[in-house]
């Protein structure tokens, strides 16, 4: 938990020497508490105080990074229980589980396919984060060959699922040059696992039946010098998952309970009785960190990737749509042209209404910095000048043969100015609400 200004003050020299640039030690302590100053600005602080302050300022949930030959996944370092309190920072990594007992050529084929998978969501490219390779054969040579095969077709980060230190070592050798996660240390093998993880400088997952077991193991591992840990609470269904992941998140954030201050790894498809997609969805909403899927299915993965994008959107920075000209229902040069802003909800409600109405249409989405129509207008981000500029940038004159632009009813006031900015154009004032677009077009569009 972060220290208060007064707690920090007690650890400072209290000489008011001003060497830090602040008038008093208390003023400096207050700035430190507000994270507006750095401890290194005080040249006189004792080593003991430094250690105390640094450990108190360490994040309550450790950040863990996996790296592939290209690309990385960071999980952890979350600071809130609910996204509206601030935001969730590090999107859970979605991995696909493979086994080294699979035929090598088949393995390459399916990995290449999953590696190439990507979907566009409002201009954001979404994809699978990496692969978890399991040493199911217990044969180091086979495991090595499987990892090499995966790396020959994908540069994404890896998770190595291994029961023993020897297999972990074999995996690490085959993954040399990347930074995989080793899964997992348990009550029996933790010493050998710690040795491999420490030597390779890679993160290590920890597996135990209950939270007490996890906490004991992480403390032992920390003593061996392995700092980047991931918790596997062994969840198998919806309720045990919600209870354990909520408990871990609360303990870490509300009590700064360091032994469980790590991101979590889950296997929503491990229990064949469970609907993997729906449990993975729960993990995305409620405190999952790394999510390893048993099945790679494009349709379900698309839904999960979009949910992750939505839940991890910063509530203060709404999702924006790429500004541009959007086609709805295959419009031709006679189809109506409507202008709006690039706030995603604004875009979606209009695009959905036009699409549902069956009207072919062109949607001019202007760069209003992700604000809705009225907010953008009030902030000067959706004015005649901008609309005219974007109309030019996105070449509306090349798309439609008519010269009529429909603007949202809420900004009717812009029409005069816009006619000046866009000579030769007729500016039509559309409805205030998207739901009225269909009836508006029926009444007003004569082409």
């Amino acid at each position: 938990m972060a220290l208060t200004g007064l707690e920090i003050y007690k650890l400072l020299p209290q000489t008011n020497c001003k060497d830090c640039g602040f008038p008093t030690c208390l003023a400096f302590a207050m700035k430190l508490a507000a994270k507006q100053a750095a401890l290194k600005d005080c040249p006189h602080v004792s080593e003991e105080a430094k250690t105390k302050l640094e450990s108190a300022s360490a994040p309550p949930i450790t950040l863990v990074e996996l790296k592939g030959d290209d690309g990385a996944v960071q999980v952890g370092n979350e600071t809130v229980l609910f996204r509206h309190e601030k935001t969730f920072y590090h999107r859970p990594g979605l991995f696909w589980r493979l086994r080294d007992t699979e035929d090598i050529e088949e393995l390459k084929r399916v990995v290449a396919e999953a590696d190439a998978y990507q979907v566009d969501y409002v201009g954001i490219n979404l994809y699978l984060d990496g692969f978890a390779v399991e040493a199911a054969s217990s044969d180091p040579a086979k495991f090595n060959a499987a990892i090499s095969a995966v790396r020959s077709v994908s540069k994404k980060p890896l998770i190595l699922i291994v029961p023993t230190g020897d297999l972990a070592k074999a995996g690490i050798e085959a993954a040399a040059g990347s930074r995989p996660l080793i899964h997992a240390a348990n009550g029996e093998n933790w010493e050998e696992m710690a040795e491999v993880a420490k030597e390779a400088g890679v993160p290590l997952a920890v597996q135990a039946e209950d939270l007490e077991g996890l906490a004991e193991l992480t403390q032992k591992l920390k003593e061996t010098g392995v700092e980047e840990l991931v918790l596997d609470p062994g969840v198998t269904s919806y309720l045990d998952s919600l209870e354990r992941l909520t408990s871990i998140r609360r303990l870490a954030l509300k009590q700064t309970f360091r032994p469980l201050g790590f991101p979590v790894i889950t296997f929503p498809g491990a229990n064949s009785e469970v609907d993997e997609t729906l449990l993975a969805a729960e993990h995305i909403a409620k405190y999952g960190g790394l999510i390893v899927l048993e099945e790679f299915n494009p349709a379900s993965l698309y839904a999960l990737l979009v949910l992750r994008q939505n839940i991890y959107t910063d509530p203060q920075k709404p999702i924006q749509v790429q500004p541009g000209i959007y086609e709805i229902n295959s419009p031709d040069e006679n189809a109506p042209l409507l202008a709006t802003t690039n706030f995603s909800i604004t875009y979606f409600s209009i695009a959905n209404e036009v699409e549902g109405s069956g009207w072919p249409g062109w949607l001019l989405v202007t760069d209003a910095e992700g604000m809705s129509v009225l907010t953008a207008w009030a902030a000067g981000k959706f004015d005649a000048e901008r609309i005219a500029k974007d109309a030019k940038t996105f070449d509306v004159e090349g798309k439609v043969s008519h010269r009529k632009l429909i603007i949202p009813g809420h900004v009717a006031v812009l029409s005069g100015e816009l006619e000046e900015e866009m000579p030769g154009w007729e500016i039509m004032v559309g409805p205030r609400e998207a739901v009225d677009i269909n009836s508006y077009l029926k009444a007003m569009w004569s082409n």
Binding site: S237, T277, L278, A281
Partner: protein, 322 residues
């Protein structure tokens, strides 16, 4: 080492609301349906009680809709041609509640009529003994014109009637008051607006035990994060003791999800969107599950398979109480 799970102490709880009336209570339903009552966040049994399961409703219409996805037409088949048959099929599919939306127009494009609305509700009441919700097509004038006779036709059945919105709630609330029904209070994704409309409806004399609030949620990919967070904030406020936010929450993942391209359309979409049917069903189910975790007490669904999947998840989340 023993670890104590940090528990929250809440001063408030969600209000219990009961739909439907049995013969003893002046209706004809086989049983009533109670939602709400929980004194903790969704499914955290370790710090509070959750006396009632969330209700799963299936949406039906008074006539076969013109714009539903072919996947839904396939799922319901000929049952859609008759509201009574459709209600029976929904009951057989495991619904706790039938949610009937009255159409804007008749099949030949004429505005829907009070006579038709009455007849459809009568048919459904006779076809099923489940509690029932009836809402208008979503256009203020027509909503009022249709819901008032429905309230009268089903006098004493404790239907859930809607949709009450800030701009149009008085007529529907008055009809519900006169004929012993409940109302659905719907506001656009905003904590204060939700609260305010509950206050306005309550001020007309409607007991809080007869108001369900619909905070509005987007579909997955189409703004669900706004609805999700508004619901979490409303629920935290309710548990914190803010009386006018303690109504059970109704959400409509069926309507939201089946409106979007991902569910509706099978052709001309990117290959990586995968199998259409699976995508459509996942879109509805994942939308529903996200809302289950943000505090939904009633979920309106469209596809029977989604109801089955969500039911399985809820059975587990409710643990020994199921």
């Amino acid at each position: 080492m023993t670890i104590e799970i940090p528990k929250e102490k809440y001063s408030g709880a969600v209000r219990e609301v009961t739909l439907g009336a049995t013969a003893d209570e002046g209706g004809t339903r086989a049983h009533t349906l109670t939602v709400g009552g929980e004194s903790t966040l969704p499914y955290l049994h370790f710090e509070g009680t959750i006396p009632n399961r969330p209700a799963l409703a299936l949406e039906i219409r008074d006539r076969k809709p013109d714009d539903w996805s072919p996947l839904l037409l396939q799922a319901w088949g000929e049952a859609m041609d008759d509201p009574g048959e459709w209600a029976k099929a929904a009951e057989a599919a495991g619904a706790d509640l039938i949610y009937m939306v009255l159409s804007l127009t008749s099949a030949d494009g004429e505005p829907n009529t009070p006579e038709n609305a009455r007849a459809a509700v009568r048919k459904v009441l006779e076809a099923t003994s489940l509690p029932l919700a009836v809402v208008g097509p979503g256009q203020a004038d027509l909503d009022n014109e249709l819901i008032v006779p429905v309230a009268e036709e089903a006098n004493g059945e404790r239907l859930l009637l809607g949709i009450c919105e800030e701009k149009n709630y008085r007529t529907i609330v008055a009809a519900a008051l006169a004929h012993n029904h409940l109302v659905q209070s719907k506001t656009p994704m905003d904590v204060n607006l939700s609260k305010q409309l509950v206050i306005l409806i309550h001020d007309m004399g409607m007991p809080l035990e007869r108001i369900v609030m619909d905070p509005t949620t987007g579909a997955l990919g189409y703004g669900i994060e706004y609805g999700y967070s508004v619901m979490e904030r409303l629920r935290l406020a309710a548990l914190g003791g803010d009386k006018m936010t303690q109504q059970p929450m109704l959400v409509n993942p069926g309507e939201e999800a089946w409106r979007v391209k991902e569910a509706k359309v099978g052709e001309g979409v990117p290959e990586n969107w995968g199998d259409w049917e699976r995508r459509a069903l996942d879109w509805e189910a994942v939308t529903a599950i996200a809302l289950v975790h943000s505090g939904a007490n009633m979920l309106i669904l469209r596809h029977p398979e989604t109801l089955r999947r969500v039911r399985t998840v809820l059975d587990d989340l409710l643990g020994s109480q199921s």
